[in-house]
Symmetry: C2
Subunit: 329 residues, 2 copies
Amino acid sequence: MDEFDLIARYFRTERLQRAAASGAVALGIGDDAALLQPAAGQQLVISTDTLVEGVHFPVNGPPAELGYRALAVAVSDLAAMAAEPLGFTLALTLPQAEAGWLQAFSAGLGDAARDCRINLIGGDTTRGPLNIGVTVFGQVPAAQALTRSGARPGDLLCVGGCLGDGAAGLAVVLGQALPAGLPMAEQNYLHQRFWRPLPQLALGALLRGHASAGLDVSDGLLADAAHIAKASGVCLQINGPQLPMSDALRSWPERQQLDWMLRGGDDYVLLFTLPRAARGQIQRWRQAGQRVSVIGQVQAGQGVQLDLGLGMRPVDGPGGYQHFRSQDD
Amino acid sequence: MDEFDLIARYFRTERLQRAAASGAVALGIGDDAALLQPAAGQQLVISTDTLVEGVHFPVNGPPAELGYRALAVAVSDLAAMAAEPLGFTLALTLPQAEAGWLQAFSAGLGDAARDCRINLIGGDTTRGPLNIGVTVFGQVPAAQALTRSGARPGDLLCVGGCLGDGAAGLAVVLGQALPAGLPMAEQNYLHQRFWRPLPQLALGALLRGHASAGLDVSDGLLADAAHIAKASGVCLQINGPQLPMSDALRSWPERQQLDWMLRGGDDYVLLFTLPRAARGQIQRWRQAGQRVSVIGQVQAGQGVQLDLGLGMRPVDGPGGYQHFRSQDD
């Protein structure tokens, strides 16, 4: 089977190309390029993500889960911009063309496309060490994108869901020693939180016109808070006891919980700042099913401060996961 | 140096982000996503390409040349759609962060960005086996994109420049035995044709409203002609003696010339079909400096036919380079 047959069989599927009703895709897979037509008054939102075996996921990861995670992680950046998904391209580098692997990968990718309501519009398949590149496209009304640079002193610091589950999920996926008595249901929950994160697209849309800055927690709470602080030229203060935790995470020792909530990353929940005048929205968002927590506030200054019960203390360095830093630092 | 410092030092440069004057980039590198605003009445054109070491370029290729080629090859797909470049994202996977390599790569990438008038708007840097993913964005007036599916019987088949130089260039780059007496100037020309292909953006823009179908020759003339034939539901006939050849290529034996022109690939010149009523344009394009040749015609039927002096004969299989096919086929 040659490259073109491969692409046709596993990626030119209705399931991937028609995952969502969309008038925006004027030309999909099969030509030199795809054509997108954002609606009038909308800006196009673009983000690219790469997943590498052994870096972003364990070696020999299950292909269906890889397919899901690769797309969901990229779409999370659209949620973080308060954008509506339109389409994505896939740049897939594979050591060999193995039908079973491709079928499972395509199925997981299709699940994510369905859940995120986004269509495959183009791609490139090449031979080499496994590397999954996804570029996502969305639209947002002009001037309403949620950037990192709008946080102002006095704003509240909020998070859209539980922290630490991504790191705990990785421990489960890697088969590390788990706390005695961790129920199977909680193990399954964490397994899913790692492999099938759900981008907070609905929350992102609700934040339009209200939140002053935002992003999705991928590097870890402290590292991502530092991104907002730097881009906005402010200090972000985090109240440790207010950090939201899942029931599953409570089974671990307190020190491990805290470390994962602060530095674990891979949570893909939205972290955002909210002017106090808009705090009435929080109750409405909760009624709409969003688990929004206030975890701190914005002050004049710079960097990130953390209160673990002994008052606010500066956090030295972002402390998040960084690919080009030795893990022994 | 951590990942963020690396990106900042070598990719957040004025040279890459301001390679072209463009009002279309509303938000560039540094947030969760970039924001593009195509002009009114324009469609967004999107294409993604991956370059893998040992597959698309020799192992330990010079980083400046890799940077140039990675972007130029991707932009060629915009030319093939008759689009105007707007921006690109870079997904770069590297075994390690080596300052000299990154500096040279960024410089070559910047040269291509300048030559193609396109700005870097986002990216992702990860650790792993070398893999260069480029996604390019352009705009084209609605309904004027040049697709593969519009060729009709009676149309002329044209090419925008010399064929076979990409493959001859690869032979030079690989240090293969060259024809005796090949002048150094010709060697340099071919070296450049491989590492620094020039996307035919100006020709693509000229073809708008005239050409009926088109693409850029990357897989090889026969393979790419087959793409148009299949997408348009027609037969493409190629007159071998009309294929345009550079002076450099003439130094090789005739059989080698022909093989490279037909099957070599990597030429990145436009192959397009033109209704006979529009043939008067060809002279105008030549006067504008475009080296356009008529190399055949479109007939009712399917597939590709080739005349090497003994009449039109069907070509069995595309015969181009395909990554997932054994080279021994």
